[in-house]
């Protein structure tokens, strides 16, 4: 939001004002942050977390956003799950077999029940996966079914003309079946070793027909927790699912609040109304300087990347014409300084797409920061493209009002310094920006990507393969695509990684984008929060395993 930028200074001012007039809580003799386990009664096992806003949908088929997923990870349970290192582990399926040609996966289900006491059976997955593929649902994450037999035909149905009966009949052709209540079989169009990761997603969890998702009343859970209250725009309360058959649930209650404003959310944390707190970028220096709060900071990698793409869609554009120009504009960027100055030093320099913490991460620099080289490449690139400096008239686009301004300014300044070229920064409102990227991308444009599942397929195939809808660069290298397809066939993760690495090396040699920064969490955790399990897959720290958290006396 437009007003968030000045929050840091304001909060600091408020705290200074406050400090002048009143003793802060930390100096009170009975300071609440001093655990005194010996005398205090056992703490209430309540975890209070901010999910940022009202979840747009807690229907697992429809959820696409981080707030909804943060709740769903506790109220649903998929076929496969993760351990704390993000290795795939059994979920509802105790184990699974992959056929020799890699196109059929058979999941063997364990004994699990819904919160209403009904058994979870294989038919529930058939129903759920059909629903995810149903064009009438138009689910945002339906594309994860793309490798399932029949999906592409189903999604090609024109819902304007097809009757319900026709669509229902088509859904029966989807490659999912339940030969018996404990066995769920998926047929794929081609070998896809990463597919088991699809079975870890919140969209592939079991459902029965007739379940409703809009209110706490009647909400059925398949996971460790069950929703007992949903006060829209206010809070959601989860309590243990007594029919849960997985690992022991330690927490007695999870209270999700919906604090839209990040500065207000931090204030709630500092007022001890939240146990886990996010920190707006501009507040990071203050937290780092605060002796008490800095001790509560949890840092760690998260699977996301911040990058700028080059427009190669327009064949006459400078960046479509010249690889050297793309390299030049990449080489001119001092990413380390950029992260230090515009991200408060939080985040890691990104030199390729696959982030650390995900199999296939490569530490190579690929396109190192080198101004002299950049200048040479720039000159050669102009020749390659048959252009003069005066022909360039470049624009760099970004979505305005989301703290990207200073990053874009930094880039523009670096390009100006290196090449003496003025790149015009253009900020557009989010919707307008995305439309522009679809129709006529800026010469250079900002985007980000976060992992749906911790596998390089999600960062390479979904971003840079020729056919990917998220490939805004319109970058297309058939050799890269071929390598990606080969990787998907390999069963061994090591073999897959080797091929993904080759694909990424090829891609980086083409320089279709400037990887800038891998995400890093900067989360405040109250000292009494114990057994929190953060993983790099979390969009909110610890969300995969909230049910294991315990609260110490405080």
């Amino acid at each position: 939001m437009w007003f968030k930028k000045s929050m840091g200074a304001l909060v600091a001012l408020g705290l200074v004002l406050a400090a002048c007039t009143s003793p802060s809580s930390s100096t009170e003799p009975s300071g609440s942050t001093q655990p005194s386990a010996s005398q205090a009664p056992p703490a209430e096992q309540v975890l209070r977390v901010d999910i940022g806003n009202e979840p747009p949908s807690l229907d697992p088929t429809q959820a696409t956003d981080s707030a909804s997923i943060q709740v769903l990870r506790s109220t649903t349970f998929p076929l496969a799950y993760f351990d704390e290192e993000l290795s795939v582990t059994p979920g509802i399926a105790d184990d699974w077999d992959v056929s020799a040609d890699g196109t059929e996966i058979t999941f063997h289900l364990g004994d699990y029940k819904y919160s209403n006491g009904e058994d979870i059976v294989a038919d529930d997955f058939v129903y759920s996966w059909q629903r995810l593929s149903d064009p009438r649902e138009a689910a945002g994450y339906s594309y994860v079914m793309a490798d399932v037999v029949g999906f592409n035909e189903i999604s090609a149905i024109d819902t304007a003309t097809a009757t319900d009966a026709e669509i229902d009949a088509a859904l029966q052709t989807l490659g999912v079946s339940a030969p018996d209540p404990k066995t769920f079989v998926v047929k794929l169009t081609h070998a896809a070793s990463y597919f088991v990761y699809i079975a870890t997603l919140w969209v592939t969890v079991p459902q029965k027909a007739g379940m409703t998702w809009g209110e706490a009343d009647g909400y059925v859970s398949s996971g460790p927790m069950v929703m007992t209250e949903w006060n829209h725009n206010s809070n959601i309360v989860l309590e243990p699912n007594t029919n849960w058959n997985g690992d022991e649930v330690k927490i007695a209650r999870i209270e999700f609040s919906m604090i839209d404003d990040p500065a207000a959310s931090l204030a709630a944390y500092e007022a001890d109304e939240l146990d886990i707190g996010g920190v707006p970028t501009q507040e990071i220096p203050r937290i780092q300087d605060d002796p008490e709060l800095s001790a509560q900071v949890l840092e760690g990698a998260v699977l996301s990347i911040y990058y700028f793409g080059f427009d190669m869609k327009d064949p006459n554009g400078p960046f479509a014409k010249s690889k050297l120009l793309r390299r030049a504009f990449s080489e001119a960027i001092d990413k380390e300084t950029m992260i230090a100055t515009t991200f408060s030093g939080i985040g890691l320099v990104a030199n390729s797409l696959v982030p650390p913490g995900m199999p296939g991460y490569q530490a190579d620099e690929f396109i190192p920061y080198n101004v002299a080289q950049a200048q040479a490449d720039f000159a050669a690139g102009l020749v390659e493209a048959g252009l003069t400096e005066a022909d360039l008239n470049l624009q760099v686009g970004y979505n305005s009002g989301s703290n990207h301004e200073d990053k874009v300014d930094f880039l523009v300044e670096q390009w100006r310094t290196a090449f003496g070229v003025e790149v015009e920064a253009v900020g557009l409102e989010w919707g307008a920006y995305l439309t522009r990227l679809n129709e006529d991308p800026f010469d250079i444009f900002r985007l980000g990507w976060g992992a749906d599942y911790p596998h390089p397929n999600n960062f390479l195939t979904d971003l840079i393969s020729c056919a990917s809808g998220n490939n805004n660069m319109a970058y297309c290298n058939p050799d890269v695509d071929a390598l990606l397809l080969q990787a998907a066939v390999k069963k061994d993760l090591g073999e897959q990684v080797a091929l993904y690495n080759q694909a990424q090396e090829l891609m980086m040699a083409d320089a279709p984008l400037i990887p800038l920064r891998f995400g890093q969490r900067f989360t405040l955790i109250k000292p009494w929060v114990q057994n929190l399990v953060p993983t790099s897959q979390d969009s909110s720290t610890g969300e995969l395993f909230y049910y294991k958290v315990t609260i110490a006396s405080h």
């Binding site: 408020g14 004002l17 725009n233 500065a263 500092e270 985007l447």
Partner: protein, 308 residues
């Protein structure tokens, strides 16, 4: 008078119609749509969504269908909160928003008018300077600044009030900060307006007449000055109340008040057409109705005005 009111009420209908037409056109003319995501939806999914929500129909058909549904009291689906209808969203939040708005309005009037009167009566003296100072601060301080300062000071440091949430009279301490934060600007605005109006009235001949009659000071101020000074103030109270009871994006966002105010901004960013239309119509209707109330009130306090 009754005829006048009926005519004015009937006029609201075409006004709302025009507002809805303009909003609908602008909304659809704006680039982007409800299905834009950083992680793009597939083309077939977008086609299915457009079909599901009738967005593939020609724009005038969409508008007519919206009008038809609205007349029947159906505000349509939300594209963002897909399990909920716009009716649900509005019904859920409007009570809280109106509650907060009315409290802030009352506080603004109760504090703003006396502040302005005192400032005018002590023109160019210390109370005037103090009141003017308060007004300038109140007007010049953006409400998010005031809100964050209140939050940090009273909730984080002093721990007097919770940082977020709203529980109405069940937990009155949840109402304090949002109400104060929301009323700061209106207090200042009313005080400034009242002061200016009072100063204007002070120079009126009829006030000199009242003084020449040897009336008591209190009676001059209350009977002869305040009543006349409030006539222009009443004109700003209508739009102000409309603004307050339909919700403030900033205050509801910062204090996590579960009202409808935050949809003003978020629904536009999300191109959640049904919610945008509902919010616009709500605000337009509130403005139209409260302006009518002001005009009727005007006739009551100013005998020179008669409607026929």
């Amino acid at each position: 008078m009754l005829g006048y009111i009926i005519r004015r009420v009937l006029w609201i209908i075409p006004v709302l119609f025009v507002v809805s037409l303009i909003t609908f056109s602008l909304m659809h003319a704006a680039p982007g749509g409800p299905w834009d995501r950083e992680k793009k939806l597939s083309a077939s999914t977008i086609a299915h969504l457009n079909e599901k929500y009738g967005l593939s129909d020609p724009i005038h058909i969409q508008y007519l269908s919206w009008v038809g549904n609205m007349v029947r009291g159906d505000l349509g689906p939300s594209y963002k909160y897909i399990d909920r209808s716009v009716n649900d969203i509005v019904a859920d939040g409007i009570g809280t928003t109106a509650h907060l708005g009315i409290m802030a309005f009352l506080l603004s009037v109760i504090l703003g008018i006396p502040l302005g009167v005192i400032a005018a009566l002590r023109h160019n003296k210390i109370p005037d300077y103090l009141a003017t100072f308060v007004s300038v601060i109140g007007i010049a301080t953006p409400s998010f600044v005031a809100a964050i300062l209140l939050l940090v000071f009273f909730s984080v440091t002093l721990r007097w009030f919770p940082t977020h949430g709203w529980d109405g009279w069940a937990e009155p301490d949840t109402m304090v900060l949002p109400t104060i934060a929301l009323s700061l600007f209106p207090i200042a605005q009313i005080a400034r307006f009242t002061r200016a109006s009072m100063l204007e009235v002070t120079r009126k001949d009829y006030v000199r007449t009242a003084q020449s009659k040897g009336l008591r000071e209190r009676s001059i101020v209350v009977v002869h000055m305040i009543r006349n000074a409030l006539i222009p103030v009443v004109t700003i109270l209508g739009p102000l109340l409309a603004f307050l009871i339909t919700g403030s994006f900033i205050i509801e966002t910062i204090f996590s008040v579960p009202g409808i105010g935050r949809y003003y901004v978020t629904s536009i960013g999300q191109r959640d057409y049904g919610v945008i239309m509902a919010m616009t119509m709500l605000y337009a209707a509130a403005i139209a109705v409260l302006n009518l109330v002001v005009d009727v009130l005007y006739a009551y306090i100013d005998p020179r005005i008669r409607y026929s």
